[in-house]
Structure formats: C-alpha cells, structure tokens
C-alpha cells in the first residue's frame, strides 16, 4: 500500500475536492444548465415579444423603452436556479450524511464552507457573465429592428452586464450560507424564498412611508439594483450602493454559517 502523503490539508486541496464534488452530481449540472439557459435566453424572448407587439404598446412605454433592462432580464429566472442550487450544495451533504465524510477529511470544517463558496462563486460568475453577454448581444440584435439598440460602451450597459453576473454570484453565496445555517434542503429553500420574495410582500402592506424607507434595503431590491437601469420605484439605492448592502447581508450570513458549522455536532 502506498499513498502520496500530504503533510497537511491545504485550502487549495479542499478547493480541488469541492470542485470534484460540484461537477460530479447530476443535479448540479442540470441546475447550472437551467440557470445559464434562463440567463441567456429569457431577455431575448421578452424583447422579441415586445418588438412583435410594439404597435400595441402604450405610447409612454414606447417612448421610455430601454433595451438594457431586458438585455439582462434573465436574472429574474436564473436567480431561482442559482439560489436553489446554492442551498443544495451544502444541504445535500447534510441530508445524505456526506458532511461527516467531508468533516472527517477536513476537521477544521470552515475550509469546507469557504471552498464550497469559492468554487460555486467562480462557476456562477463565469457562466452568468457569459450568459449575460450573450443575452445582451441577442437582445440588442432583436431591438435593432426598431433602432433601440445600445452598445456595451453606452452609459450603464457594461455595468448591468457585469453587475448581473456579480449579483447572481453573490446571490448563490447568500443561499449557500442559508443552506449551511438551516442544514436541510426544504428549509433552506423556504428561507431563501422567504427572504427574497416574501419580505417585499410584507413591506408592501406597511404604511407607504415606512415601506418606501425599508424596501430599498431588502435583499432582492438592494442586490438587483446593480442589474437595473430603469427603476420601477423612485425609492431605490444606487446600483453599487445596493450591491454593497447585499454583499453585507451575504457576509453576515456566511459568518453565522461558519460559527454554527464549527460549534454544532455533525
């Protein structure tokens, strides 16, 4: 028997291990495919429908039409796949018991969490940036029939294209941290959906002034600001300001996850 003996477990080695884990599950591959197709295709679909119905649109909508938001509009759908997969990357280890193998190999535990975050963030950013660029180019080609196209050099264009990829990447990290906190798939997804989609509904029933003050700081409003050019509500944070707030929530969730990871029995 011989084994190439490593003197110690290094962060790079744990990253390699997590990369093998990520690519060796069918569910991961399908979720990433779904996220990429959604991100790349949904904007073009919406733009095509809009161009088709152009004469039926309200005059106001035609005058204010901005092709940058539909160019990256795929995030509305891609975020579901990215969020659910983020939860599952770690909750799947708890439900199958794999987490015990992971912690026996890396008994300090936090490197496992950080490696998962690192690998997932790198994969999500790469795929979502490509999908976002593809979507941008496709949408501009479609809206050029009405002369509404933008170039990447136009104000805000490059920012939303890169910003969308960044937003989805951080969203993936956020949901992964939620999965690590809750440690089960159904609960993790419920928490993710609750924080992103249910919270805005709750602020909507608050008195308008209170709701308007809180709403920009909710995770989804804050995070998606960087992927938005024309805001529906006048109450919103600046693109990068909102993104920074969303990153803050994510860092907080990761810290809670890391502390619990070390403290709790596996």
């Amino acid at each position: 028997m011989s084994a190439a003996a490593a003197v110690r477990v290094t962060p790079a080695a744990v990253l390699r291990s997590e990369w093998i884990k990520l690519r060796s599950l069918r569910s991961t591959r399908w979720s990433l495919l779904a996220a990429t197709v959604s991100m790349a295709g949904l904007g073009a679909l919406v733009a095509a429908v809009q161009m088709n119905r152009w004469t039926h649109l309200e005059a106001h909508d035609r005058l204010t039409y901005n092709s940058l938001d539909p160019a990256v509009g795929g995030w509305h759908l891609a975020m579901l796949a990215v969020g659910v997969l983020g939860v599952m990357i770690i909750s799947g280890e708890y439900t199958t018991g794999m987490i015990r193998s992971s912690f026996m190999a890396v008994p300090r535990r936090t490197p496992v969490l950080f490696a998962k975050l690192g690998v997932y963030a790198a994969v999500t950013f790469g795929l979502m940036l490509v999908a976002s660029v593809v979507s941008f180019l496709a949408v501009q080609a479609i809206v050029s029939q009405r002369g509404l196209q933008h170039g990447l050099g136009d104000p805000g264009a490059l920012r939303v294209v890169v910003g969308t990829a960044l937003f989805l990447t951080v969203l993936g990290a956020f949901s992964l941290a939620l999965g690590a906190i809750v440690r089960n798939t159904a609960g993790g997804i419920a928490l993710f959906v609750g924080l992103l989609f249910v919270l805005p509904g709750i602020t909507a029933i608050l008195p308008a002034t209170t709701g308007d003050a809180i709403d920009p700081y909710l995770p989804l409003s804050a995070g998606s600001a960087v992927a938005t050019v024309v805001f529906e509500s006048p109450h919103h944070l600046s693109p990068w300001g909102g993104f920074a707030v969303f990153c803050g929530y994510t860092v907080l969730a990761i810290i809670v996850a890391a502390v619990l990871l070390v403290r709790r029995d596996a």
């Binding site: 110690r8 390699r16 884990k21 015990r100 026996m104 190999a105």
Partner: protein, 307 residues
C-alpha cells in the same frame, strides 16, 4: 493508538456517554461491544471530532482529531450511518475525499480494486446494495493508508465471503502494528476477529480486557456438570459449601457457585465416585449477556409492554 479520558456526552437530558475511559492499543484488534443504544456510535463520533464532548477528551495518536493536520493518513473511519452522497459515483466520492489530502488517482484506483468495486465504480452510490455501500465505506477508510482504523459495524450487510474478507484485512492491518477499533453488537463476529474488548452499556464502561480474560471470568460463574451415582449425598455436601445444585435426572447435577476443582476435591474427600466432571465454558455471548444484563437499554420485555 486511541486514548479516551473521562469522555462524557450529553444530548439534552440524555447521557449518551458517561465518564468513559479506555485505551485502544496498536498491533491488535479491539472490539467495541455493547447493546444497541449503549453509546458506541456516539463514542466513535466523539473520537472522530464530529461531535464535541460535553467533557473529557478523546485523543488519536496523542492529538484531538480536530487538530490532526492530515487526518486521513492518521485515521481511516467508517461510520454506521451512510456518510456518502447517493448521487455521486463511488469513484467521484473517493476522488473528492482523496483530493483534500493530495492523494493521487492511482491510490483511488488501488482501493477500488482492493474492496472489489471495480465493476460498479462509475455507478451512482444510490444504486448500491448495503454490502457494496459497506465496501465503499471501507475503501474510503483505507484511502489515506492510515495508522488507525475506526469502523462502526463494518460487517453489516456483507455476505459471508465479505465478512471473511474484512476479517482477514483487519488481522493483516493489526499484524502490521496498526490500530483497529471495531464496533459490533454481534458477539460471534467480535469473538472471531478481536483480541481486546471494550464493553459499554448505557454509556458506561463495563469491561476493558482481552477476549480471553472476559470469557475466563464469565466461565468461573458458569455451571459445572457433574454425573455421579451418589447425587443426593453430593448435593448435600456441595450445598453446605454454598453452591446451588440443580438435579438434572440420570444422576447428572448442575452446580452453580463452585469451581470444578473444588467440587472434585470435596467428592474425593467424601469418597464419592464421579463419572463426569465438566467445567462450565462460557461463550463470549454468555460473557456479554452476563456483563450487560443490567445495562441493556431496551429490554425485550419493556418494548412488549409498550406494544
């Protein structure tokens, strides 16, 4: 080597492990025996750093598991509960484990061949039988060519050929000067495999000795069979000496509470002819029942009342 000092683990109101201390020595196979719910799996999880002890320590090679820098080279472990993602292939599972320690592809292939999973290595673990799952668990434990093996019920689900295979594997491993700590609730299996025993019941240490010692101790209390034409006289004499004598018919009596040499001496003094004098020989099963009789967590009678 594994050293457990005053190890205690409390889950809420339940004391799963209660002030447990023992040492598992290298070069021998140590069986970890106890009824279901005695705290065996919890003790193993504490040794492997998966659960934190309420108090006390568990050291592997002189260190807490969490402080081992390359744990897979120190300890190979297989837990009773599955610790493998069902959606991954055996090969990918082992490759992911190996990557954390920079263990190469060749070693992964090697352990796959060693446990006989070559034909199914690329199939999803979810499709595996219990026995194949056990073999994969053993492959993962052997991956880092460790100095110590910690195995929770390793022969669960293995066929007789598989049980023989793992017994040989563990014996060779111990003969190599390494440490083997192996839990089981099957006495027969432990009797054939282990030399040393750690017995627990209700989270407490009941015995820490060699298999031979445990059996010898139990045999002292085992009944002695005596066949004599003067059974009535002998019964009176032995009873006077404090023994309990049960008449068996055909002149045979069963003597409890006196060792066979003493019975022989007494018979000789009274000039009683003995046709047969058979010392009691306890099996490990008997020894185990005697040791854990009062410490069994779930008595059959109790569950019968509930049902």
């Amino acid at each position: 080597m594994i050293e457990v000092h005053s190890l205690t683990k409390r889950y809420g109101a339940k004391l799963a492990v209660d002030d447990l201390s023992f040492v598992v020595q290298p070069g021998t196979i140590t069986g970890f025996l106890g009824p279901n719910g005695a705290g065996k799996s919890t003790t193993m999880r504490l040794i492997l750093g998966l659960d934190a002890p309420t108090s006390g320590t568990a050291l592997v090679h002189g260190k807490a598991y969490r402080d081992l820098r390359a744990p897979l080279h120190d300890v190979g472990a297989m837990l009773e509960a599955r610790a493998i993602h069902a959606g991954r292939s055996a090969y990918d599972h082992l490759a992911a484990m190996a990557a954390t320690h920079g263990i190469g592809r060749r070693r992964v292939e090697e352990v796959i061949d060693l446990v006989g999973l070559r034909d199914v290595a690329r199939k999803r673990v979810g499709t595996f039988s219990l026995g194949m799952g056990q073999r994969l668990g053993i492959a993962a434990a052997l991956l880092g060519d460790p100095q110590t093996l910690v195995l929770d019920e390793p022969s669960n689900g293995l066929d007789p050929e598989g049980i023989l295979w793992i017994r040989t594997l563990l014996k060779n491993f111990a003969a190599d000067g390494r440490t083997v700590f192996l839990s089981s609730h099957l006495m027969s299996e432990i009797a054939l495999t282990a030399e040393q025993l750690v017995v627990v019941g209700r989270g407490r240490l009941i015995a820490d000795a060699s298999v031979a010692e445990v059996v010898a101790r139990a045999s002292e209390n085992a009944a002695v069979r005596v066949v004599t034409p003067d059974a009535d006289v002998l019964a009176v004499i032995l009873t006077r000496e404090g023994a309990t004598v049960i008449r068996d018919g055909d002149g045979a009596v069963e003597v409890h509470g006196l060792p066979s040499p003493r019975i022989g001496e007494l018979a000789a003094r009274e000039q009683i002819v003995l046709h047969e004098l058979t010392p009691g020989q306890a099996t490990l099963e008997d020894a185990f029942m005697a040791l854990t009789g009062t410490a069994v967590e779930y008595h059959a009678a109790e569950s019968a009342v509930v049902a």
